[in-house]
């Protein structure tokens, strides 16, 4: 018998009916809601490809049971911005060409968003530490760190205006 869970994704209310309430949130995002931006990397909460914001906190969602997010607010990479209105982080990643294969980027953008929400002026070391839960195998790390610094500056300038 299926159960229904209500939560919000990127500001929109969603209602999902599941036969198995343990179904990972990642599978619901990708297979039920068609939001492919959150990637599957390990299914073990180790690599960070599936990072989303849950009530503002960065969390890996590949094993997170859907029942546990009922009533909560989820933000995925699609909720940050788009080509027409890129989030300053997304713009900075493009400016710095911060990526190679790009598979890890959705999760990294989310981790970076969570950091900048909390700490608008992080040091390079603080950024690196905030991203240690995300694995990048191509070796784009330094570009990514530069991009987050650049986005932080842009966001602070935007807030000051």
């Amino acid at each position: 018998m299926s159960k229904t869970f209500d939560f919000s994704v990127n500001g929109k209310a969603v209602s999902v009916s599941l036969d198995n309430e343990e179904t990972p949130l990642l599978d619901v995002l990708r297979n039920e809601l068609g939001l492919m931006g959150t990637r599957f990397g390990c299914g073990l909460e180790q690599c960070g490809c599936c990072m989303v914001l849950i009530d503002g906190a960065p969390e890996k969602c590949c094993t997170k049971p859907t029942w546990s997010v009922a009533g909560k607010q989820i933000v995925t990479v699609e909720g940050l911005g788009n080509a027409a209105r890129p989030h300053p982080l997304q713009q900075a990643f493009l400016d710095e060409q911060a990526g190679q294969c790009g598979y890890c980027l959705s999760g990294i953008l989310i981790s970076a968003k969570a950091l900048l929400d909390k700490n608008p002026k992080p040091s390079r070391a603080e950024i690196a530490q905030a991203l240690d839960g995300n694995i990048c195998r191509c070796g784009s790390h330094n570009r990514i760190l530069r991009a987050v610094e650049k986005a932080a500056t842009a966001l602070r300038a935007g807030a000051a205006r």
Partner: protein, 703 residues
């Protein structure tokens, strides 16, 4: 006069395999090279924009498609630009010349009066109303290239040599459906394979009800011999069933690798094919002898996403979607495995995470194809589980490299032997191996005879086994070990990583023995101007100072290589400190990749190679313990953000005539520069990779 065609153009000489003008203002460029995250399609678009004189925005690149794109084998070996890009450029130069000829006829003027700007034809600088698209109907591109057209001269290049933003990056930053994992086809079902642990292993029993119980959703079993797959419409249920299956399926004839076999030294005294190269044995009489042995362990590609493949068999046609490096070789292997004609199979490339060589991509595609043949009309999507990728991806082989040198009075090598023990670096489908799933089928294909990448293609284990330095006699002896405990194949750099690590560490040992600075010593044994230039450049960048005392805990090392001795040149300096573990501080790198298409793209690749090599050297080893014991990111850790050094890279000689492949050049020099810097920091040498804490302690106690 006809000139010889670049290799890939010679193999695919018909011009419309490379470019078409589908509709007004649009250009479609086709390439056999595929996007693996290395930015190759952006570089191809830059080459096309310059050779055709059109804006990049008019160009659509189609790649890796057995229906349309040229057959360029594998996207591998840092050959895409050096060979594929040169072939594409030549094809487009020829197309441009054909259009100018046609314009001359239409406008009744000399071709020398004509020029092209963004696709439009100008006569003596004035618009003619003609362009590629008005002329396209009259220009037959279904003809063969002749090699007669001249490429643009380097001074006329505009897009080539300028930084170009990666065409594929925006979609990835916005979370679009760009990866093969994101593909959904109507009626598609998800599948997981219950992996045969090894060739010849047979299924004992399958507890279907226990697996169904674990799935918590409807699943179906598909079996062909010892190939067993679980299918269903609900991916979560199929994934859970796939994970549970290991506990509910028993196998006979299981062989597992043992801890003893995980060490490189296990390769000694194993059955091997001996392959000698180079000079005759020298007479060592009266000369000083030097001998050192270096090793490295098995490595994983450890792609960030597990492999994925889709297939549909319908009306006698098999369509396969894959992220493999060679769609044509995969098609040939699938045809053999499934007993189909290659003409009834179409293989499309779709992007995935970086592969860095032969990972599970081909095998996941084969899994989907094997299942699709049993479920005609039903699109099948196979996605490997994380553990499956780590355990079943082909590993980079462990290697032993023994260097023997004879020295002159000044301590310079006059005779150099590099003796290499290594399993093969090439079990790509169609080249030296079979598709994994095929081994579980009732009639598995025979084992191919032991072989490695031919030396004409840069070699596998022998890659960079010969120093580029001026040494009068050089030779290699390769023991191609034929019985490896695990399947081995190509990882970025292949044998170059171990060979450069060994030989460049030996060069430092020889410099120290001769009482010379490592930079000066290298310059004293090389007359290659381009090699000297990168070594001198990186020394300036790093503010290298001769004579810094060893053993202070902080150290610097330098190393150099020309990839395959025929692609890009690169010199790397590393600064690090060592206490219980190694902390990387700075890396400087000077690279000569010849004519550079996209400077920022090349730098991105060089940086990636440095970081990946640092990760191999400091952290990585596939462990065996009653099977593969490195099966996730905790048992196979890689370098983290907080562990990455500052990196400073400069490109030199970028306006040379010819591009040189650069994607793999930094791996060997980085490994060796770290080895040399650790030795400098400790005052003790570690000759085995990875540079673990245990080895640091042992080296300190030893010396």
């Amino acid at each position: 006069m006809n000139a010889p065609l670049p290799g890939p153009l010679n193999d695919n000489p018909v011009l419309d395999r490379w470019v078409t003008f589908p509709s007004a203002g649009k250009v479609t460029v086709l390439t056999g090279r595929v996007e693996l995250g290395q930015g190759v399609l952006t570089a191809m678009a830059q080459i096309s924009a310059d050779e055709l004189d059109v804006a990049m925005s008019r160009i659509t690149i189609r790649s890796g498609d057995t229906k349309k794109a040229p057959n360029e084998g594998y996207t591998a070996g840092s050959q895409s630009i050096q060979f594929g890009g040169v072939a594409l450029g030549q094809a487009l130069a020829e197309v441009r010349a054909l259009f100018l000829d046609q314009a001359g006829k239409v406008l009744a003027c000399k071709v020398s009066e004509l020029s092209i700007r963004d696709g439009s034809i100008y006569r003596n600088g004035k618009s003619t109303g003609q362009d590629y698209w008005t002329l396209a109907g009259a220009v037959d591109l279904a003809i063969k290239a002749t090699g007669s057209a001249a490429r643009k001269s380097v001074s006329d290049l505009k897009t080539i040599g300028a930084n170009s933003a990666r065409l594929d990056l925006p979609a990835k930053v916005f979370g679009d459906s760009v990866f093969i994992h994101d593909m959904r086809i109507n009626g598609m079902v998800h599948a997981r394979v219950v992996r045969q642990p090894n060739r010849d292993a047979t299924i004992g029993s399958v507890d279907e009800s226990a697996i169904r119980h674990a799935a918590k959703g409807p699943v179906e079993f598909v079996r062909n011999g010892n190939f067993l797959a679980i299918l269903g419409g609900n991916e979560s249920a199929v994934e859970a069933a796939g994970a549970a299956a290991a506990n509910h399926v028993t196998w006979e004839n299981v062989e597992v690798p043992t801890p003893l076999q995980q060490e490189a030294n296990w390769l000694l005294q194993r059955p091997a094919v001996d392959r000698p190269f180079g000079a005759e044995p020298a007479d060592p009489k009266g000369r000083e002898r030097f001998e050192r042995t270096y090793t490295r362990a098995y490595l994983a590609h450890a792609s960030i996403s597990p492999s994925c493949g889709l297939a549909l068999y319908k009306d006698g046609q098999l369509t396969v979607w894959t992220h493999c490096q060679g769609v044509y070789p995969l098609r040939a292997s699938l045809a053999k495995t499934l007993k189909l004609e290659p003409s009834s199979i179409v293989v499309h490339h779709v992007q995935s995470s970086g592969c860095y060589g032969h990972n599970g991509a081909d095998d996941a595609a084969a899994d989907a194809a094997i299942i699709a043949m049993q479920k005609p009309g039903q699109p099948i999507r196979v996605r490997w589980r994380r553990e499956e990728e780590f355990i079943y991806e082909p590993k980079a082989p462990a290697m032993i490299v023994k260097v023997r040198a004879l020295l002159d009075e000044a301590g310079r090598p006059t005779d150099w032997t590099q003796e290499i023990w290594s399993p093969t670096h090439n079990q790509r489908p169609g080249a030296g191996g079979n598709l994994l799933g095929a081994l579980a089928l009732p009639d598995p294909p025979p084992e191919p005879p032991p072989n490695d990448v031919p030396e004409a293609n840069g070699g596998g284990a022998t890659r960079n086994g010969e120093p580029l330095y001026n040494i009068p006699a050089k030779r290699m002896l390769h023991h191609l070990v034929t019985e490896a405990p695990v399947r081995t194949s190509a990882l970025r750099g292949l044998g170059a990583t171990s060979n450069v690590f060994a030989l460049e560490c030996c060069i430092d040992e020889l410099a120290e023995r001769a009482g010379q600075d490592p930079v000066q010593y290298r310059l004293s044994i090389t007359t290659d101007a381009r090699a000297r230039a990168v070594i001198e450049k990186v020394a300036v960048m790093a503010k290298w100072k001769a004579g810094a005392a060893a053993g202070s805990g902080r150290g610097r090392g330098i190393a150099f290589a020309r990839y395959k001795n025929r692609a890009a040149y690169s010199a790397v300096v590393v600064e690090l400190s060592v206490d219980e573990a190694i902390t990387l501080h700075n890396v400087w790198c000077a690279t000569d990749a010849g004519l550079v298409i996209n400077p920022d793209g090349v730098i991105n690749q060089l940086e990636g190679g440095i970081i990946q090599a640092a990760s191999w050297v400091l952290k990585e080893q596939v462990r065996f313990d009653n099977g593969i014991a490195s099966f996730d990111w905790e048992t196979y850790p890689v370098l983290k953000f907080s562990e990455v050094p500052e990196i400073d890279i400069e490109l030199i000689n970028t306006k040379d005539k010819v591009p040189l492949g650069a994607g793999e050049v930094t791996g060997g020099p980085t490994a060796a520069a770290i080895g040399n810097a650790v030795s400098h920091a400790l005052g003790a040498r570690i000759r085995d990779l990875p540079l673990t804490r245990e080895r640091i302690m042992a080296a300190l106690l030893r010396e």
